[in-house]
């Protein structure tokens, strides 16, 4: 993905939700995307499959298995979607059409992309459901008859049904119980390993991403501010935001009487500060931070950050 930019048309002018983001995911690897609400991470997911409707605009290039997405239109875009790249949304609650049975919603994408006999289709669906640990009898159920965890499993089964090269999961477990959450992430990791599917997992929970992902990317105010191997980012963060955030999270494995605090509040995309978006909250900010946004600089192998004062240890 190169220079992806997504803009929302609002009443008070265009708002840049995703600003010149670049990254790549290797085959079979899981990339984690972390960021707070309104940092543009969900817009990025939509933009990658060109799902933002006009008047919102997407520019840049996205390659899935060598095929460019943003330049596509109409039938060729429809053909690429789901077959090469699929998506799982945050709230499986709203991602199902309430008036259709699970099986017809699962069958829809398969039917749209392949010529398959009804018998094969049924077998495929049963296999998929078993793979996500759901009794195939539930394919005759309506979405509201499933629990949140089951819906999310079905959503993942659905996203895997055409064996895509890339699966984008936008907060796939946020609404779920801790236990279910872990079960579903284990499932996703297993599917990724078994089928060589690359995944982009979006979450606000860094501790979750650090366990699940091979690489982690941090976004702040629509821009990438840090990217690198999961271990490196969590153990040796370069960007002050990442570092402070990691220190502010309470842990079960240590006793503290007070937590490290990041002053101020996250910015809204509609009124971003000049220069580095994080500078008003940054303890290390200098004059140059307030003027020009720092570029992404590789500091340690594949570990890069956009900061004038990276915390190299």
């Amino acid at each position: 993905m190169r220079g992806l930019t997504a803009k929302y048309a609002t009443r008070s002018g265009a708002v840049t939700a995703v600003d010149n983001v670049n990254f790549s995911i290797e085959k079979g690897k899981i990339m984690g995307l972390a960021g707070e609400s309104g940092c543009g991470k969900s817009s990025l997911a939509l933009a990658m499959l060109k799902l933002l409707e006009p008047p919102n605009t997407v520019s840049g290039e996205v390659y899935v298995g060598g095929q460019e997405v943003i330049g596509l239109d109409g039938a060729s875009l429809r053909d690429l979607r789901w077959r090469k790249a699929s998506i799982v949304f945050q709230s499986a609650m709203n991602a199902f059409d309430p008036v259709h049975k699970v099986q017809s919603q699962m069958a829809e994408a398969i039917r749209a992309h392949t010529n398959i006999s009804t018998r094969d289709l049924n077998r495929t669906m049963d296999d998929l459901l078993r793979a996500v640990r759901i009794d195939p009898k539930y394919k005759k159920a309506y979405p509201h008859e499933l629990s949140g965890g089951m819906k999310q499993r079905v959503a993942i089964a659905m996203a895997m049904e055409l064996r895509p090269q890339l699966l984008i999961a936008d907060e796939p477990t946020t609404a779920l119980d801790v236990v279910t959450q872990r079960q579903i992430l284990i499932l996703m990791k297993r599917l990724s390993r078994e089928h060589g599917t690359s995944m982009l997992v979006i979450s606000h929970d860094l501790s979750l991403l650090s366990e699940v992902c091979d690489e982690i990317m941090i976004m702040y105010g629509g821009r990438t501010i840090e990217i690198g191997g999961a271990e490196e980012v969590v153990r040796r963060p370069l960007h002050p935001y990442t570092g402070l955030l990691l220190e502010s999270i309470p842990s079960l494995y240590e006793k503290r009487s007070s937590l490290r605090v990041i002053k101020g509040y996250p910015p809204s995309l509609a009124s971003l500060p000049r220069g580095c978006h994080f500078h008003p909250r940054c303890p290390y900010a200098t004059d140059e931070c307030t003027v020009t946004p720092p570029a992404m600089t590789t500091l340690d192998g594949s570990h890069a950050a956009a900061c004038y004062h990276p915390r190299v240890q």
Partner: protein, 324 residues
């Protein structure tokens, strides 16, 4: 399967409503300062003696509870006894209504069906091009038509198509000169065109406005984005997902509106002298035929209550979430 409890609760609701209608129908004439018989007599310009005789004949000299018992026994006997009409004497109220009922059902039934389909299709079309010229003009058009009384739309159509251009017949439900089944049917069809058109014009805009609104709301739902991500064709997304969901509240409106439409047909039937229940009410009102007025009210109410019940039950099948 629709839950039996749901059926029972709806049935009880309908029965309670029916009972309220029964009581209203009984109490209203008796709430007046003058006795019904006196009103009957004065309106019919009959001498005072007749009023006294009427009082006894209708049992109005008896205590209220006895009258109520008699009234209920009449309604619940088979065939129901709704009294005898003055203006069509000696025909029973029930027989007159039963004679007229099929015409109203035919008229209202086809009008409801056509306006529902028309409003829904137009609503889908307008929502597809939201804020376009087509959308805006159909919106304004629907609002303007909505505010005209149904009967006036009927009058206008009658004048334009029936009198100026003489394309359609304007009086009654069929031509008395028609012989044979085919010619009767075609004549009945021709006679119904203008009344149905008037009813459709007066009623489709409600469905149109609701459908358009719902479509625009459903389009914003997450599952629509997911359908697009799946690579499903736009045509299929619009019809099978957006329209399908947007239709559910429209169906509720359909059952809500049955009462309005049956009433609305009264004006139209008067304009076209269409021999339905609505026109019968008019005749009953102008000839002060009180048993007939009450009888028609009862029958219309029962018809609407029944239709609502059926619509409620059907809704349980249409929206999977309404099932347990």
């Amino acid at each position: 399967m629709v839950n039996a409890r749901y059926l029972v609760s709806r049935a009880i609701g309908s029965l309670v409503t029916f009972f309220v209608v029964l009581v209203l129908n009984f109490v209203l004439p008796r709430l007046l300062p003058e006795s019904p018989a006196q009103i009957l007599a004065s309106n019919a310009r009959l001498p005072q003696v007749v009023a006294a005789q009427l009082t006894i004949k209708f049992g109005l000299d008896q205590p209220v509870y006895v009258q109520f018992e008699k009234y209920l026994l009449g309604v619940f006997s088979w065939p129901p006894n709704l009294g005898v009409s003055y203006s069509f004497y000696p025909s029973s109220v029930l027989s007159i209504i039963l004679q007229r009922l099929p015409w109203t059902l035919f008229l209202v039934g086809s009008a409801v069906f056509v306006s529902w389909i028309l409003g829904t299709l137009l609503g889908i079309a307008a929502s597809m091009r939201s804020r376009s010229l087509f959308d805006n003009s159909s919106l304004v058009g629907a609002i303007v038509i909505y505010t005209f009384p149904a009967f006036w739309i009927g009058l206008f159509l009658l004048w334009f198509f029936g009198i100026e251009f003489r394309i359609f017949p304007v009086f009654g439900a069929f031509s008395t000169s028609s012989t044979g089944v085919l010619s009767f049917l075609s004549s009945a069809g021709l006679h119904a065109v203008l009344p149905i058109l008037a009813l459709v014009l007066a009623n489709f805009s409600g469905y149109f406005l609701l459908m358009r609104n719902n479509m625009i709301n459903v389009m914003r739902e997450d599952f629509v984005i997911l359908e697009r991500a799946k690579g499903v064709s736009d045509f299929r997304i619009v019809l099978n997902h957006i329209a399908r969901n947007a239709m559910l509240p429209v169906f509720s409106l359909l059952s809500m509106n049955l009462g309005l439409v049956v009433s609305g047909a009264i004006g139209i039937e008067i304009v076209f002298s269409y021999p339905g229940v609505g026109y019968l009410i008019y005749q009953a009102v102008t000839s002060h035929d009180y048993p007939l007025i009450q009888g028609t009210f009862l029958v219309i109410s029962v018809a609407v209550i029944l239709m609502n019940f059926v619509a409620d039950v059907l809704y349980g099948y249409i929206d999977p979430r309404a099932k347990p």
